[in-house]
Chain length 415, copies 2
Amino acid sequence: MPDVISQIQADDRRFELPDGAGTDAVHSDPQYGYAVTQLVTADRKHSGTGISYTLGGGTNLVRTAIELLAEPLAGQEIEELMADFGTVHRAMAEHHQIRWLGPHKGVIHLALASITNACFDLWAKSRGVPLWKLLLDLSPEALTRLIDFSYLDEVLTADDALSILKGKWSTRSEREHILKEGYPGYDTSVGWFAYSDERIMENARRALDLGFTAMKLKVGSPQPERDVRRVQKVREAVGDGVRIMVDANQAWSLPKALDVCRQLASMQPYWVEEPTQPDDILAHQAIARAISPVPVAVGEAVSNRVMWKNFLQAGAVGIVQADCTRLAGISEYLAVSLLATKYPVKVIPHVGDMGQMHHHLVFFNHIALGHEKLFLEYIPHLRKHFMFPANVQNGAYQLPQEPGCSTDLLPRVDR
Amino acid sequence: MPDVISQIQADDRRFELPDGAGTDAVHSDPQYGYAVTQLVTADRKHSGTGISYTLGGGTNLVRTAIELLAEPLAGQEIEELMADFGTVHRAMAEHHQIRWLGPHKGVIHLALASITNACFDLWAKSRGVPLWKLLLDLSPEALTRLIDFSYLDEVLTADDALSILKGKWSTRSEREHILKEGYPGYDTSVGWFAYSDERIMENARRALDLGFTAMKLKVGSPQPERDVRRVQKVREAVGDGVRIMVDANQAWSLPKALDVCRQLASMQPYWVEEPTQPDDILAHQAIARAISPVPVAVGEAVSNRVMWKNFLQAGAVGIVQADCTRLAGISEYLAVSLLATKYPVKVIPHVGDMGQMHHHLVFFNHIALGHEKLFLEYIPHLRKHFMFPANVQNGAYQLPQEPGCSTDLLPRVDR
C-alpha cells in the first residue's frame, strides 16, 4: 500500500545536560536541542522522524521554519517523493522568498535538515529497512537522484557522482566485513571545558577501559597554558597509544590560533578542531598550512555544500566533520561525502544526532564510497531520550537493525 | 533627560510590489519585507525604528528572533548603551545558545541587524540629529567603540580603524561639499527580469530624463541571448555615456557564469552582480579574474564581516555592496566599510532599505573614510510607506534633515 504523507508536525525539544557536560570555550551553559519534523502517513502506520541540532535557545525558530518549508510535502507518496528527491530538496532550498533568509544557511537550512531527515526516516520505515541498508541497496542512479548538485558543477556533477559510485561498486564486498565488526567510536565526553583536570584524567581512563582508542578534549582557554596542561594530563592518563583530539569551538582569532595551535601541534593531537570562526576559509587555510601534518577539523558550523567546496578547494580542512543535522539533512551530507572523495581528506562526522543517523551513514560511506574506516564521534548524554539508542560495544558502534534512521525520540516526560 | 528603553516591539511588515517589479532570475514573485524593531523610551518621547530586509516569506521568523535577542536592551539608557555598543553587539551575536543557529548569518543575524539599526535610530533621535551628522560628529574613538572587530584581527583591529579615521580627519573639509551637492543615485527599477524589452527601453529613457547616469538590468536568463539582447536594447536607448550594470541574482553555476559573463563583459557593463551562489568565494575569484577589468559586485547575501574579509582577501569582489539591512546593522556595515579601505575596491551599498539609511551612510563614508564618491542604488517602490522617503532630485540623493535614520514607516493601512 502506498505511504502518503498526510500529517506534518514540527516540534521544539530541548534537553538538560548533566553538570558541566557539553561545555566548551564559547558555549558555557548549553542545552542540546532538536528541531523535530514528524511525517505521518494517512493510515498512521508509519511516522518519519527528522531532527536537526541546536544548542537549545531559538529552536522554536527552526520549528516555525519547518512548518513554512514542509508544506509541499503534504499528500505526497513517499516512494514517488524519494524517486527524485534532489529536485524536491532544491525546490525547498530555493523557495523564491524564503531563500532570502539564507540562502542555504542558518535557521531555514536547519529546518530543511529536519524535514529531509524525516523523509529519509519515513522512506526507510516504509521499506522496513535500516537507513544503511536502504542506501546500500539503491542503484547508483537512484542514489544520485537524492542529491541537489547545484553550484558544485566545476568539481562534482551528477555524472561524476555516478562514476564514483559505480567505480566502488565491484569492490564493495571487500569492505562489507565492517557490518559484522562494527564501526569504532571516539569519546567526546571525556574533556568538556568546565571539567576539572582530575575529572578529565578519570574520564580518559574510563574511556580507555570502555574500549575507546581516541578521545577529545575541549581547549580554547583564555590561558593557553591551561589547554597545553590538560592535553598533557590526558596523555599521562592514557599513554601514547591513544589518539587525542583538541577542539577550540571557534574561540580564537587567526593570530591567536596560529600561536596556540603551534604549541598544541607539538603535542601531536590527532586533529585541531574549529580553531576560529567557521566562515573564515582563508584563516583555516593559514592554520592548516602552519600546523601541517596535524590536520584542521571543521564541520558542525560549515553551512552548506558550497562552503564545503571552498574549504576543500582551499586545502583549509583535513578532517571533514560534515553533520547531517547541521547541513540540509542526509541529502546534502551525501553531496559532501561524494565531494570529499576528490580531495586528500578524512570524513569523520560531527554528531549532532549523538551518532544515531551517522552510525548508519559511516557504514554506507565506507562500503559504497570507499571512505577510510576511522572512528565516529560518540556522546552519551541523550541516550535515554532515544527509542533506539546506538549500541556501542567495546568502543565500537554496532550495526543498527531497526527500520529507519534511529531518530525516534521518546515522548516528553511530564514532571 | 536620559532616554531609557522601556518597550521593545518587533513587527513583520510585507509590501506588495507593482506588477513585475522586484523580479529577477531567481525570485519570480517577490514581496519586499521588513523585520522591524521598535525601541520606545520610558517617557514615550522617542521611538527608534530598525529594519532588516527580506523578500517577504519568513519575515515572521526574524520577528521572533528579534524578541529573543533584544531582551537585554530593556531598561538601558541609550547614551550608555552606545558608548560601548561594539561590546553589546558582540554579546548579542555570541549568545551562547542562539549563536548555534548561525553563527553570524541567516535569521538571527537579520534580527541583530534590525535591533542594531533601531539602537542607532533611537540614539540619533535622542540627540536630535540625522544619522549622517551623528556619525560625523563622533570622535574616532567613539566611532570605533561602536564596532565588534572580532575575527578581523589579521586585517583590521580597533587600533587600525582608529588610524584610518584619524588619517582622514584633517582632509574632511575637502569632501564636505557633497553635503550641499547631494549624492548621485543609480536606478535599479529600469530592468526587472519580468519586464518586456520595450518596457526596459522606455524605463531607461525615463531614468535618463530624471537625471540618472547609471542604471541596472536583471540578467541570468536560461537563454543568455536574452541577457545580451537586453543589454544592447538599453544601450541603444540611452547611448554610450550611461553606465549599465547587470545583475544575475545568483542564477549561474561557475561554468555557466564564466561563459555568459565573458559575453556580457564584451559589452562593458560597469559591473556584473551576483553571478553565482554568494558563499562561493573561490567561484567569484575565478569570475573576477576572467572578466577583469569589469568588476564583480556582491553584497546583499554576503552574511557577515568574516565573509567580507575572505572576499576581499581573495580578490573575489570589486564592488562591495554591503547593506546594513542584511549585515548585522550599521555597526557591522561600518566594520566592512573600514575593512574595504584596505583593498582596491569600490563600496556601493545594496539598499534593502530603499536607500533610507544608506543615503546617510554614503555621505559619512565619503567624508570620514574617504570612500570614492560614486552613486547609490535607488529603488522607488516603497516610497509611500516611509514617513520621510529619501529626496532624490535630478538623479541625486539630497542630504536628509530629519533626526534619526529615516527608517520610520507609516502605520499599516487597514483595507
